[in-house]
């Protein structure tokens, strides 16, 4: 099994997967008396597409929020790149190179697509207020370099045509893509996608799947994604964590997970006698 080899493994389609990048150890998250996540452990390896699936209310989004710092778990440890992570604010997590998208899209509605994607570069802008004010030297170089990255991402996700459009005017599917663009502009080490295909039609889903695969392939970005729909995920991901009622009920390759009796029960329902 892949977990045995600390150096990583090679996938069926010949991609090299590296060592563990992020490890969740015995995470428990409570809201008052309600347990959203109970004692869950899993890891994400470098270069991998890792999926977290489960029925509604399984705690998938909560898990993603723990990784991205929006929730602080009561118990358990988060390890990132070989170091135990102290409790962090979401913006600090982002500064560490973990970018994310949201289930119900959190874009800057008042700004253009270009401006939105540009905000993904905020952490790369280092020059002081004064040099920005006179627009000289370092500030100018920085802006040019950041614009280049942003334009590359915009090209890559095929949203050139709507660069100047205010985000509020875009249809749902395109908004999802702009959100992905903003996350990519940060050149993240780890990209978290919260239901990237929710509410999309078949064609949009296919587009999004292609983009996710291409991002992983071309930039080598490690991706953790949450999905509700099992079918889509199975084709995309290298390994899958399955959650149900806040507990982990399966972890492994899509084939292993598909044949796991607990997973089948959770998804198809099981007779209680």
């Amino acid at each position: 099994m892949n977990a045995v080899n600390p150096e990583g493994y090679t996938t069926a389609d010949g991609r090299k997967i590296g060592p563990v990048m992020m490890e969740m150890k015995n995470i428990t998250l409570r809201f008052g008396g309600v347990k959203a996540i109970t004692d869950i452990s899993f890891d994400i390896r470098e270069g991998e597409i890792r999926a977290i699936i489960g029925p509604n209310g399984a705690g998938k989004s909560s898990m993603l929020n723990v990784i991205s710092g929006f929730y602080v778990p009561q118990e358990g440890e988060v390890w990132f790149r070989g170091e135990k992570r102290a409790p962090m604010k979401p913006y600090q997590v982002a500064q560490q190179g973990i970018a994310r998208t949201f289930q119900n899209i959190a874009l800057f509605e008042g700004m253009s697509v270009l401006d939105n994607v540009m905000t993904g570069r905020l952490n790369y802008m280092k020059s002081g207020l004064f040099s920005q004010a006179i627009w000289k030297g370092k500030a100018e170089q920085e802006e040019v370099a950041n614009r280049e990255v942003v334009e590359r991402v915009i090209d890559f996700l095929e949203i050139q045509a709507i660069r100047k459009t205010p985000v509020a005017r875009l249809p749902y599917g395109l908004k999802k893509r702009v959100e992905l663009a903003r996350a990519l502009a940060a050149e993240p080490k780890l990209l978290l996608l919260d239901e990237p295909m929710a509410g999309m039609n078949v064609e949009e889903k296919e587009d999004m799947s292609r983009f996710i695969l291409d991002v992983n392939d071309e930039f080598g970005t490690t991706i953790a994604l949450i999905e509700h729909d099992m079918g889509v995920v199975m084709d995309l991901s290298d390994r899958v964590v399955v959650m149900d009622y806040g507990k982990k009920i399966g972890d492994g390759t899509p084939d292993e997970v598909r044949n796991n009796q607990d997973v089948i029960d959770a998804y198809l329902g099981v007779a209680h006698d």
């Binding site: 929006f70 600090q92 401006d115 905000t119 905020l122 207020l129 920005q132 004010a133 940060a186």
Partner: protein, 328 residues
């Protein structure tokens, strides 16, 4: 030109100048409202506080001297220096940044995700606290603010118009300076929010907190920055109004004049604050000139509010405000 038209022109120009001063106050409101959704009732008091601090620093007043003297039985009032205006303005700005930090650290930080009305109540509390605090720190007497701005009749305009129309316009130099300063201020604010990293982060926070966090923006830092910028605008407004009418309690009431300006221009628009200010300024001066005599005068006290009321009925989001679209 007929006499009435000439007088009306003078009134119109004076109205524009008054409008600029209203706009200066309204700007402070818009900045905070845009960035954090808080209607900052304390903006007027902030202008008063900034002006008090500026005078105090310039004249070398000992802060809290009444309190110190009462407790220790001493009799100190002044450090005995007189600072140049530029240095005093820079120091005052430092105090306003400190104030911004304190407001965020002790109040706003704890009220994240609360209802707007609760935030509004908090700023009312802040306003009264700062009013008392300003008095305690610098004393309650009326002070004269003189940072060396030109004041009084502009003789060049007076002469030119006299030669052209046979009637010299009375335009105050201070109003002309205020107009130039306001224009510069708006240019700087726009450049800041459009072209700098911090400005971009500020717009991001204004738009969506969650999304801003996810791209690595610290909300606390941005809020302190926004309150500092609002403090800077308050300082500018405080200097202009303080130079015009002395630094005293009534300075804080200019906030009330900014309300109709905001209703006209929209709470979220910087150009709206300017245009709204100009419309109110010109409107109330012209109304007083043409209609005032028929109604027994003093229309300036209520004209702005009635105009704002009419506006509210027909265009609740203001001239430039974001459209309110309720989806069902």
């Amino acid at each position: 030109m007929s006499d009435t038209l000439i007088y009306a022109t003078e009134v119109f120009i004076n109205g524009l100048m008054a409008g600029v001063l209203y706009a200066l106050v309204a700007l402070g409101f818009v900045l905070i409202y845009k960035a954090s959704g808080i209607f900052n009732y304390a903006q007027g008091v902030m202008a008063l506080f900034a002006a008090l601090t500026l005078v105090g620093i310039m004249d070398g007043q000992v802060p809290f001297s009444h309190l110190i003297n009462a407790i220790f039985g001493t009799d100190i009032h002044h450090f005995g220096w007189h600072l140049p205006a530029v240095l005093a303005i820079i120091l005052t700005m430092g105090v306003m940044i400190l104030l911004a930090w304190a407001v965020n650290h002790f109040i706003m930080r704890h009220l994240v995700n609360q209802e707007p009305i609760i935030l509004f109540m908090a700023t009312i509390g802040l306003a009264y606290f700062m009013e008392g605090f300003g008095d305690l720190m610098w004393g309650a007497d009326i002070k004269k603010l003189d940072v060396g701005l030109p004041m009084g009749l502009n003789t060049w305009i007076d002469d030119t118009t006299y030669n052209a129309f046979g009637y010299g316009f009375f335009i105050d130099n201070l109003d002309i300076v205020a107009t130039i300063v306001a224009a510069l201020l708006v240019a700087v604010l726009v450049a800041f929010s459009q072209y700098t990293k911090q400005g971009r982060a500020m717009r991001a926070v204004a738009d969506d907190h969650q999304a801003a966090l996810s791209v690595g923006v610290s909300l606390n830092f941005i809020w302190v920055m926004v309150w500092s910028v609002a403090g800077f605008v308050a300082l500018v407004a405080g200097i202009m109004w303080g130079a015009k009418s002395g630094v005293q309690f009534s300075l804080s009431l200019i906030a009330l004049k900014a309300l109709p300006v905001l209703m006209l221009g929209g709470f979220t628009s910087i150009p709206g604050a300017i245009v709204g200010g100009l419309i109110i300024g010109v409107g109330e001066k012209l109304f007083e000139f043409f209609v005032g005599p028929m109604l027994g005068g003093a229309t300036e006290n209520w004209f702005a509010y009635v105009l704002a009321l009419i506006f509210l009925v027909f265009r609740p989001q203001g001239l430039f405000g974001e459209k309110i679209i309720e989806r069902v």
